[in-house]
């Protein structure tokens, strides 16, 4: 049974993906700052603040103690902030980069060490359509996700030789906490950028995840798929 680690999975996309993986016969390890109410024989939840390096080290130490080696890592944890960059406090930018980029790098490093031994692994990172669209008002978020994309591509080159693929998903706006604060006009103008003009759904994300993790996708590496027809 393949083991999947999903960060930031207490709710939203992470929770949905967790349940999908379990339904599809995977063992899932979830982590978030707070406890999860998800109970399943094929699920364990670990408390972890993804911007705390010691928490991450402790999480992987626990996994080793339990003899759990990660096959698939979903770096889902992420935060956003809507603000003009002039009025964005510097600690907001720091938090965004720590959560979106540095946590992704740290989790990937420790998970990749487990995958290298198996000569097989899948790492899926979350970008956003905010990157190709260069959305104004989302400088810190979009640039942190651009960094995630760049990091993913370099990781894919450094890890491909070990049978590990690293790819990105760039979701369009989806009904999650991240966009709940946006006005209808703002959402409408975002959808205008898409060739398929609707909000994304969790199933759209799963579709791409299922593609990336497939054994048949062992030749798909360093890519980023955007949802909604953004190109």
């Amino acid at each position: 049974m393949k083991k999947v680690l999903i960060t930031g999975n207490r709710k939203g996309i992470g929770r949905f993906l967790t349940e999908k993986f379990i339904d599809n016969g995977y063992f899932v390890i979830g982590c978030s700052r707070q406890a999860s109410d998800l109970v399943n024989d094929n699920y364990i939840h670990m408390i972890c603040d993804v911007i705390n390096d010691n928490n991450i080290v402790e999480l992987f130490r626990e996994l080793k103690k339990k003899d759990i080696n990660i096959d698939i890592l979903i770096n889902n944890a992420g935060i956003a902030s809507m603000n003009h960059f002039i009025t964005t406090p510097s600690n907001t930018s720091t938090n965004i980069f720590n959560t979106n980029l540095h946590a992704t790098l740290n989790f990937s490093k420790y998970a990749a060490k487990m995958m290298i031994k198996k000569k097989w692994g899948r790492i899926i990172n979350f970008s956003s359509v905010a990157v190709p669209l260069n959305l104004e008002g989302e400088l810190s978020y979009a640039s942190s996700k651009a960094a995630v994309e760049s990091a993913s591509k370099i990781m894919s080159k450094e890890l491909g030789v070990f049978g590990i693929t690293v790819n990105c998903i760039g979701p369009n706006p989806i009904e999650t906490d991240l966009i709940r604060t946006l006005s209808k006009d703002k959402i409408s103008s975002l959808l205008d950028n898409q060739s398929i003009k609707r909000l994304g759904e969790f199933e759209d994300i799963w579709n791409v995840v299922a593609f990336y993790i497939s054994d048949s996708s062992n030749f798909v590496n360093g890519q980023c798929i955007y949802l909604g027809g953004i190109c």
């Binding site: 080290v57 080793k64 060490k113 290298i116 031994k117 450094e158 030789v161 070990f162």
Partner: protein, 96 residues
Amino acid sequence: MNKLELEKIIFTILLEFIKDNDIEFDHELNNETRLIGSAGILDSMDLVSFIVELEEAISNAFSIEIELANDSIMSNRTSPFINISTLSDYILKINK
């Protein structure tokens, strides 16, 4: 954990690694054998795998988790991975 114990583990892991990865090496392995660089046994990719194996071996032997990450890992002058002796010194130093 002392230098002798560490060197023994590094030797064992290195010999297994050379064998498992069909690395061409027909000299006698000793504490001063060059591990990295143009005359080294390991290329940069080998080094990554070797580090993963070594970290796990040390964890199993001494029940400690160490991370052998270092900014000068591929430096010909200052890398702790120059040979087995410098590597064991480095591991003892970071585990202090």
